[in-house]
């Protein structure tokens, strides 16, 4: 009996899935008798089996459903409500079945009176529409199961009635079966008890069912997952058996690999031929077993037509679901894992991908929206695409949301392509749905989808065209058990990299076209007009003896494995590449499972254990390794990359050098025009100072320390600062490095020429005040242009969160004749302004925490007092888009942060403009 029940559960579940699909079809084509026949037969079978097994609740429900469908078959009009009702009855049946399975064959308590009543009402209505012959039905009480049968069966054809009789006969016989000891837990509702009293045959039949022993676990599992049509051609095999078979084959593959490896070492071996044969057989066996695990993707799609139909009704949008390539096969395990993400994506498309019919009409599209699911094979992957022809993603909306949720700043968004911006929807808690509906917009979803897909080594990407639709492209491996990998070497150890994520291999040599270049210390590779960020595998894994890795980088020889994870592309430098090998992934031991860099390990053909690199782990490590500059260059920064860029916004490039004294000194790199070395002999002395001829003019040399002199022989390095045709050479002893770092001047300085000390590269470093040295070369360096307005002392408020810039710009502005007040934040500026301080102009940084420059300016412009005040923006990012943004915010001018002459000029302009108006 238990076998029977599990068989029943499996089959019924399958039938119900089919009914779901068929019903949706039926609703669209109500006159197709074939579909109706199909549904009718399936429901009838369910009812019949339930009766046989003694499941009264199910039987009654199925029966009521069948009756209504019988009416349809007899020509009653099919209404969407009727179909909805039948669908919800089927849902109820499914729910009961699920509990049945969980409770080892006992029907859950509860009543389906509501549904049965509705079904009957509908059936009567249907009757009424053709022949008013159901008066008797009206006086029957719904709860009386037996009586219900009598009325409902009457309109059925003779064939069916006799079947019911047959069932009854079965039930009677089941009484004669040795009755099991009554240990029934009383979980029947009172209604059921009533039913029991009134419907004797059913209650008797139920007893054996209740007392049934537990369905074995495997059976349940099988019942859940097994699918596909049943015929004489197929047999049911427990999934566990297949899993076991698969494991054994995997082991066999490993052993074969080992044997092959041994034979490879012995050139003439008599084993060679038989081994070759074994190898082929193994390969075929592997393929065969893999095939048993393969299932058409259509199995994962089965529930979608129903879901779309329900959504269509709920959202009041007509939706058509197209499914292409449903017979594309993939591993069962993978199939299970993508089911939910797919469902979610389809719901998403239906809910906020497709527009309302009215909007679609306006946009010149047909009212009916289309969601297309397609699947096909490509290489060792399967590509699944979920496409809708809806409104497409709204870039501006996503941008706004990204800023709101602090994922990115305005400035960074400006630099991103639409493609990059779209990817924000994969972030946790990111929903652009204007309002939360029951379907979506709850902020859980796309990130979960992405995680689930990445978990199985897949990727998800999207394309969207405003007004034309959105499509999500999922790429997943066909199977998870056996992975094709590339075996590489780094620092003497071998590692396996899954080929799925390997795009290509590049051999680099010093004198070939592919060579490693550096931006600061970060290695990059020029690859077809793109800069590819590189990282050495040894560095990533921390296995490099520092000098080794440096050496290998210095030689610039080696292999670069170009990897793609999501839309992030990067190169992993390895010392050597061996071959590719099919490996069976074995999970890491629990002790090592916390290492994100590895997805597992395996035994290679030569018997040694090898670690399998997890591309996702590398990608995220890469993003955190990468400095801000690299993150920007990456075609598409991952989350961490973006995060890095956000955090790094206050980091600036500093040139480190030594001059005069052994302490390191630093100056912002962007201020330096060139680094030059001059032959000492070229240094001439005239008018009491050292000069060199530089680009057709004399360039005065300035020393950090007045007592310092240039070198006696050889070459003399110096930093050249140029402005408006004038240049100054700052003589240094040695240029140490260029570093990118946040600069916090921790200790201010009273000494002229030094702004203060900051920690750079873990060393206290003096930050040079160029404002002090520049006038040494030309006394009027700052004065010449500003002289005319210097008479008018104007108060300028400088807002910048960076102490460095406050310290640097204050003297510059002062030198230009302004009375400068510096404050570290927009809030502080508001306070000053509220206190009644009057300023002629405000110079504000853009990239500031909490209130940024744009917001600051917008807030000021809203206040009548400041509507006319000149406000200048100062930013490290100067792009046409950011300038435009600045104008919108109300800035009078937008100046690059290091463009000091530009700032002076802009200030002068706004004041002269102001004067002009006043005059």
């Amino acid at each position: 009996m238990d076998d029977l029940l599990s068989e029943f559960l499996t089959e019924t579940n399958e039938s119900l899935d089919v009914v779901d699909v068929e019903l949706v079809k039926f609703e669209q084509e109500p006159n197709n008798a074939k579909i109706l026949d199909n549904i009718f037969r399936l429901v009838h079978t369910i009812k019949g089996t339930c009766g046989f097994l003694g499941l009264p609740r199910l039987e009654a429900l199925a029966h009521a459903g069948e009756t209504l469908m019988g009416k349809f078959r007899d020509g009653a009009k099919v209404t969407p409500e009727a179909v909805s009702l039948i669908l919800s009855s089927i849902d109820r049946i499914k729910a009961i079945l699920a509990e049945l399975e969980a409770n080892a064959g006992a029907e859950p308590e509860g009543s389906d009176e509501d549904l049965i009543h509705e079904l009957e009402r509908m059936a009567l209505a249907a009757d009424g529409s053709e022949e008013p012959a159901a008066e008797e039905a009206e006086d029957e009480s719904v709860a009386k199961g037996e009586l219900v049968y009598q009325i409902l069966e009457r309109p059925l054809r003779p064939g069916e009635v006799s079947l019911d009789d047959l069932e009854r006969a079965f039930r009677e016989t089941s009484m004669e079966i040795e009755l099991p000891e009554e240990k029934v837990i009383d979980e029947e509702s009172e209604l059921d008890a009533e039913l029991e009293a009134e419907t004797q045959p059913i209650s008797v039949a139920r007893k054996p069912a209740e007392a049934k022993p537990e369905v074995p676990a495997e059976k349940k599992k099988e019942a859940k997952s097994a699918a596909g049509g049943v015929s004489n051609q197929t047999i049911r095999v427990a999934v566990e058996t297949l899993e076991h078979l698969m494991t054994m084959v995997s082991e066999l593959v490993l052993t074969r690999n080992q044997l092959l490896e041994i034979v490879r070492r012995h050139e003439d071996s008599e084993f060679k031929v038989p081994l070759q044969r074994l190898s082929n057989v193994t390969a075929e066996l592997q393929e065969g077993v893999m095939k048993t695990r393969m299932q058409p993707i259509g199995n994962a799609w089965q529930k979608l037509p129903r879901i779309v139909r329900d959504l269509s009704q709920e959202l009041e949008k007509p939706i058509e679901l197209e499914m292409i390539g449903a017979d594309t096969e993939l591993d069962r395990q993978v199939l299970e894992l993508i089911k939910d993400p797919l469902t979610h994506m389809v719901r998403n498309s239906a809910d906020h991908g497709l527009e309302m019919p009215a909007d679609r009409r306006k946009a010149g599209k047909s009212e009916k929206g289309t969601i297309t699911l397609s699947a096909y094979h490509e290489g060792g992957h399967i590509i699944i695409e979920v496409r809708d022809d809806g409104r497409g993603l709204d870039v501006e909306k996503i941008k706004k949301k990204a800023i709101q949720s602090g994922l990115s700043s305005e400035a960074e968004l400006e630099k991103m392509t639409d493609q990059q911006i779209f990817r924000f929807i994969f972030h946790a808690g990111f929903s652009t749905a204007a309002q939360v509906t029951s379907v979506s917009g709850r902020g859980v979803g796309m990130d979960v989808v992405r995680n689930n897909i990445e978990l199985i080594g897949g990727t998800v990407d999207l394309r969207s065209t405003q007004g034309r639709g959105t499509s999500f492209i999922i790429k997943i491996p066909l199977t998870l058990a056996i992975v094709s990998t590339l075996i590489v070497e780094a620092s003497g150890d071998r590692f396996a990299i899954p080929q799925l994520s390997v795009v290509e291999l590049v051999r680099v040599q010093t004198n070939s076209e592919h060579r490693i270049e550096r931006i600061k210390d970060t290695p990059v590779l020029r690859l077809r007009n793109k800069l590819l960020p590189l990282v050495h595998l040894s560095h990533l894994l921390g296995i490099a003896e520092a000098k080794d890795a440096d050496a290998s980088f210095d030689q610039d020889n080696g292999f670069i494995v170009v990897m793609q994870v999501g839309s992030q592309t990067f190169g992993v430098v390895v010392d050597g590449v061996f071959h590719t090998e099919e490996i069976v992934v074995k999970p890491m031991s629990t002790m090592l499972r916390n290492l994100t860099m590895f997805s597992g390990n395996t035994i290679l053909g030569d018997g040694s254990v090898i670690m399998i690199i997890d591309p996702n782990g590398v990608a995220s490590a890469m993003a955190s390794h990468a400095s801000g500059a690299i993150a920007e260059e990456m075609a598409n920064g991952g989350d961490d990359g973006i995060q890095e860029a956000v955090e790094g916004h206050s980091a600036i490039s500093m040139l480190l050098f030594r001059a005069g004294s052994p302490e390191p000194k630093a100056v912002p790199l962007s201020l330096v025009t060139r680094l030059e070395e001059f032959e000492v002999s070229k240094i001439e002395r005239s008018n009491g100072r050292d000069l060199v001829q530089y680009r057709g003019a004399l360039m005065p040399l300035v020393y950090i320390d007045p007592g310092q002199t240039h070198r006696a022989e050889g070459t003399q390095p110096m930093l050249v600062f140029s402005d408006a045709g004038r240049s100054m050479g700052l003589v240094v002893d040695e240029i140490v490095d260029i570093v990118e770092d946040r600069m916090n001047i921790e200790v201010g300085s009273e000494r002229p020429g030094v702004l203060g000390s900051a920690i750079i590269k873990e060393k206290a470093t003096e930050i040079i005040d160029l404002g002090f040295y520049l006038p040494q070369a030309f006394d009027d360096w700052f004065m010449r242009k500003e002289l005319d307005i210097s008479a008018l002392t104007k108060k300028v408020l400088l807002v910048d969160d960076s102490a460095f810039f406050r310290n640097m710009l204050t003297p510059v502005l002062k030198a230009a004749g302004y009375d400068v007040t510096a404050c570290p934040s927009a809030q502080a500026a508001f306070e000053l302004l509220e206190n009644g301080d009057v300023y002629s102009a405000i110079v504000s940084d853009i990239e500031m925490p909490e209130i940024n420059g744009f917001e600051f300016c917008e807030a000021l412009r809203r206040d009548a007092r400041f509507r006319k005040m000149p406000i200048l923006a100062l930013s490290a990012v100067v792009t046409p888009a950011s300038i435009e943004r600045g104008r919108q915010a109300g800035f009078d001018d937008y100046v690059a942060k290091f463009d000091r002459p530009g700032l002076i000029a802009a200030l002068k302009d706004v004041f002269s403009g102001e004067l002009g108006i006043a005059a």
Partner: protein, 158 residues
């Protein structure tokens, strides 16, 4: 060292121990927990793993995580290259404890076991299940559960 009376052991019960030497100290592992004794060969190191993890190796088709017992017990690293390993199981996974050498199997009475001396190095006390006094030397009982459990759990929680 005073005998701890509270140690509950059934008189007459004996336990067989596989004795191993780690850094000159004799240790005992209950024989029921020892699956193999093998010479660890071609150990693949695991980058980024805890320092006590010597690496992973293939033991008859199974991947075994090798634990460097000298490091685990905070002993100086071994100078000679000779080493052995004891294969054990913990929660369904295979581990190899890399030790200096394996000694004989001793059958000891459970009630002659003594609790850890109170002044024992805390890091040792964590993994020691007591001490047996043998002729001329002491044998520390290695508690495998605690030894590996402490390595797995904090990581798993992380």
């Amino acid at each position: 060292m005073k005998k701890n009376e509270s140690f509950t052991a059934i008189a007459g019960e004996t336990i067989q121990y596989v004795t191993v030497v780690i850094g000159g100290q004799l240790f005992g592992l209950p024989i029921s927990q020892v699956h193999d004794v093998f010479v660890p060969e071609s150990v693949t190191r695991v980058p980024l793993a805890a320092p006590e993890v010597a690496g992973v190796l293939n033991l008859r088709g199974r991947i075994v995580t090798a634990i460097d017992m000298r490091r685990r017990l905070h002993l100086p690293p071994r100078e000679d290259t000779q080493m052995m390993a004891v294969g054990i199981e913990h929660k369904g996974e295979s581990y190899g404890l890399v030790i200096d050498k394996v000694g004989e199997v001793l059958t000891l009475s459970a009630d002659s076991r003594e609790a850890n001396p109170s002044n024992l190095d805390k890091r040792w006390a964590e993994v020691s299940g007591g001490v047996h006094r043998l002729d001329g030397k002491l044998m520390v009982i290695l508690d495998v559960e605690r030894l590996l459990g402490a390595m797995v759990e904090p990581l798993a929680a992380a």
